[in-house]
């Protein structure tokens, strides 16, 4: 085989995958991997859980080391070595030994860039204070761990409610800190639609976490030995420990300086074979941009799962293979205390901003058969294209079974399934695992009913707008009196329990626009069918029911 020399820059996820795969493709290659940090191939995604002791030993985060890579794969691993520059013409890199400070040059035939991403640190007053941290690398984590052990902070603030922010909040709370999350946007987990994120807010609060959304941090201070965060609303949030988790950015300086193309999303531009615009240079992992296969547009997918896949392809292709990474549906999942929160594909908001006309369905169901013990409530929101029926995205939230449903949805979206085709899936059913009607199947059935013309949806936002405009319509809430007492009613709604609707139909005007509301949408749909078949001219169903209604409610009875 070719005695090609492969240099890999970065040794965490993508870099390590590239090295191992390259060796399996070419036993005779010389492979050298430079890593700036102390360690290679560690469990970045496990770092927050080490802080709380959920992962009890630091060793467990270290998946493998240079010695293993030498033994198993004959790869030379150089940690504490930073690659400073690429000379594309001469095909060599300049590497600094961070221990000795010496620079050297390393020639390459093929180069794989896997520098990852870095935490963004906004230039805020006080951001340099010793109790302010980012949580991205093992070194970051060691610093926070030491601080927690030595200072035992009473309060902690997490700036930025993204994935790392949520994991930091949970683990710091488990460590005993009183935690506040401060988020600039109107919601945490901005990839979710608002009403789903609202459920996360509620859960965080239920778990004792303060949630401040639509608030911008203006500075961090230390006073009398305590830390404080100040926001643009004049709030002072106690914060003896601060995690800055406002986002990450791909590490592209090395590539940019070498004249490699950077894509519109800010990552190194690569084709599906992880090839940059230099035929000898490939790139993989958090530093590249990837393809979103729903939108067909480049995007950042800073996930360990993507890094492994891309690194593997880059390593193989550097050795002359042609392994494609076809793209991503943008699947994310995060544990937020007792909830799992997941999304794949597009949110409703993203679908609209892509110029699509989304059909939204909501399913509220047990994760498994209700008669079998320990069933937990699970919600699915699907977003489909109204005209083409194509499933565009799904959001799932609940205590159990969330990862299953999102993975089925991700597989469905990858295969460009239509929403109503979900109904055809033959999903595994036994009472401990699912219901005879799995919530994914139910989502498909709701879609099929829509495309058959059996119901017309009105979203909470549309209904709210109609109410504001003073439109002439009647809103009928078909839930039971008990549900209304417990959860309130939308202002102006008339109460007719679903099982009375058939008998009380004469009370209603078939000529008038009629909107039906229930808990999630099933009973409203049953009523919708009844009224339409009894000659009502204009009937709609509130999608998601009272469960997705984030506007004001009234008590019932008043």
């Amino acid at each position: 085989m070719d005695k090609v020399k492969l240099v890999i820059v970065g040794g965490v996820a993508a870099g390590a995958s590239a090295a191992a795969k390259a060796r399996r493709c070419n036993e005779d290659a010389e492979i050298i991997m430079f890593e700036k940090g102390h360690d290679i191939s560690y469990a970045t995604c496990g770092l927050p859980y080490y802080l709380s002791g959920t992962i009890p030993k630091r060793d467990r985060l270290l998946i493998t080391d240079g010695r293993f890579f030498k033994q198993r794969f004959n790869v030379d691993v150089m940690t504490r070595h930073e690659v400073l520059a690429i000379d594309r013409e001469a095909q060599k890199v300049t590497v600094k030994n961070l221990t000795t400070g010496d620079n050297r040059e390393e020639p390459y035939d093929k180069l794989v860039l896997a520098m990852g991403a870095s935490a963004i640190v906004p230039p805020l007053p006080g951001v340099e204070l010793p109790f302010v941290f980012t949580l991205k690398t093992l070194e970051d984590t060691d610093r926070i761990f030491t601080y927690l052990r030595d200072k035992n902070p009473e309060t902690a603030a997490v700036v930025g409610g993204g994935l790392i922010g949520m994991e930091a909040a949970e683990n710091l709370a488990q460590k005993g800190c009183k935690v506040s999350v401060v988020e600039f946007m109107p919601q945490v987990l901005t990839f979710l639609d608002r009403e789903i994120a609202e459920l996360v807010h509620q859960h965080l609060k239920y778990k004792g976490v303060n949630v401040y959304v639509s608030e911008k941090v203006t500075g961090i201070e230390e006073r009398d030995g305590r830390g404080w965060i100040k926001t643009d609303k004049g709030r002072e949030v106690p914060a003896d420990l601060v995690i800055m988790s406002v986002g990450i950015k791909p590490n592209t300086k090395l590539a940019r300086d070498a004249g490699l193309h950077i894509g519109p999303s800010g990552g190194i531009a690569v084709d599906e074979f992880m090839q940059t615009n230099d035929s000898n240079i490939l790139a993989a992992g958090d530093c590249v941009e990837s393809m979103n296969i729903v939108t067909g547009k480049p995007t950042l997918i800073p996930m360990g799962s993507a890094a492994n896949k891309e690194g593997r392809a880059a390593g193989a292709n550097a050795m002359g293979r042609q392994i494609a990474v076809k793209g991503f549906t943008g699947t994310v999942i995060v544990k937020v205390f007792d909830l799992a929160v997941a999304k794949t594909g597009l949110s409703e908001r993203e679908a609209v901003s892509e110029g699509l006309s989304p059909l939204v369905t909501y399913v509220l169901s047990g994760d498994h058969a209700g008669y079998y013990p320990d069933a937990k409530e699970l919600r699915i929101k699907t977003v489909a294209d109204k005209s083409t029926k194509r499933l565009l995205g799904a959001q799932v939230i609940g205590a159990k079974g969330v990862d299953k449903r999102i993975d089925v949805m991700a597989t469905a979206i990858y295969n460009r399934m239509a929403l109503d085709d979900l109904l055809q899936l033959d999903l595994a059913y036994a009472p401990p695992y699912s219901s005879a009607r799995d919530p994914v199947i139910v989502a498909g059935a709701i879609g099929q009913n829509y495309y058959a013309g059996d119901w017309i949806p009105v979203t909470p936002a549309e209904l709210h707008q109609k109410m504001e405009k003073g439109d002439n319509f009647v809103l009928i809430d078909v839930r039971t009196p008990r549900e209304l007492k417990k959860r309130g009613i939308i202002p102006g709604a008339v109460h007719i329990p679903i099982d009375d609707l058939r008998d009380r139909i004469s009370e209603l005007d078939p000529e008038k626009e009629t909107i039906l509301c229930c808990g999630v949408g099933l009973r409203a749909y049953v009523g919708n069918r009844l009224l339409v078949m009894k000659g009502f001219k204009d009937v709609k169903t509130l999608t998601g029911g009272i469960n997705s209604w984030t506007y004001p409610k009234e008590r019932y009875p008043i």
Copy 2:
């Protein structure tokens, strides 16, 4: 709308679904549902769990009742009414009131048959004894429940190791019985391949259940107040309680007597719209045959999930709709004590009997990241078509995360994905839910490696055959000495740990056929690559490794 009259025969799963959906399609129809038993719409799949008290109250099994159906859907439900005959020409059925004994005739415009299936009771000596039961209906369950309560049997035997047999065994054991399972075939759960079923056998034994396979029950006896099962091997199995769970058969007599077509698999023949050969008669649920979309052949899918789907379509189509049920991948899942055992699509054995040439992969992995607490071992076996790459089937077994992986596989198979395309799926990753390399992704990667020519598989059966024939090859076990001590070694294997292989390559003959073995296949594959690239002419990897080796092993060191 049409004032059509719909008669539904059977009110458990498919019948009840048909009734509710028919009403939502036609408010003016007259809908009448006859059910032979006392109850409608009860949780058939929950019955075994009621015996052990896992489902503590009988009420929980009763999902709904006739009163609800009348109120919500204006459906007349007649329980304890058996439909005896169909007069297709006159469009009427003869119905017997089982309470009064009276017969009456009921005309129909449309008829939906949903009679379900019945437990098969083989004509064995002693099968009529009072401690011998089937476990199919609520009435069956009530009888067993009463017997357990009154007689407190010490021992129980389950005849037939299918889905119901496994659930019965677990729940009777939890109730305190010493349980034996007697199965005529060489394995329980005959839809699984042998080496996967072997894991179920081991687990049953570990849980204190006696497993007797390849034994035919010849009779049941009572002696001195104790029950005994006798087998063709001369065994006497103590059995104070006997569950006959040898299989079920579709209830087709009514249809057959009326001249409706019965399909080759023994169920009522219907098209994808659940239409029989009489345009006014539809059928759904356990009494029909369904399409297996992998083989394209009709098959029985006696699952609650299928019954609901088919009933819904039948109810709609009886009202003039055209809802298709496109078919099933044959997904099953069953809880066997601490394990979940699942399958979708074809087993290796079924693929061979379909005339296909299957590529088999095995993945042994945690259900989630190993560094995050409580990860449990999960095994996936995939079966793909060697030439077309099409994923044909998957079997998954483990303590957690089994239902997720089988549902992803079912979705993949429905979409006719290629095995190597699994690698492209963007599955949800965070440490509590999965690994950076989800086992499904790993299966895809193994497939891609195969199709790239990176390894040639030899199955345990093929290797065993080569050993029997005395073929001239060398078998190298690349595991660690510790693993060999713990789990033994295949007779004749040479031990070279994977990390020593590169240095000890000169000990081996590159001209000789060389087969590599490890735990599951990953390290053997790494060694396979190394040897091939070093010029070895004929190298193969034992798929599934020592984990799938069901033939004799030797102790190591000897």
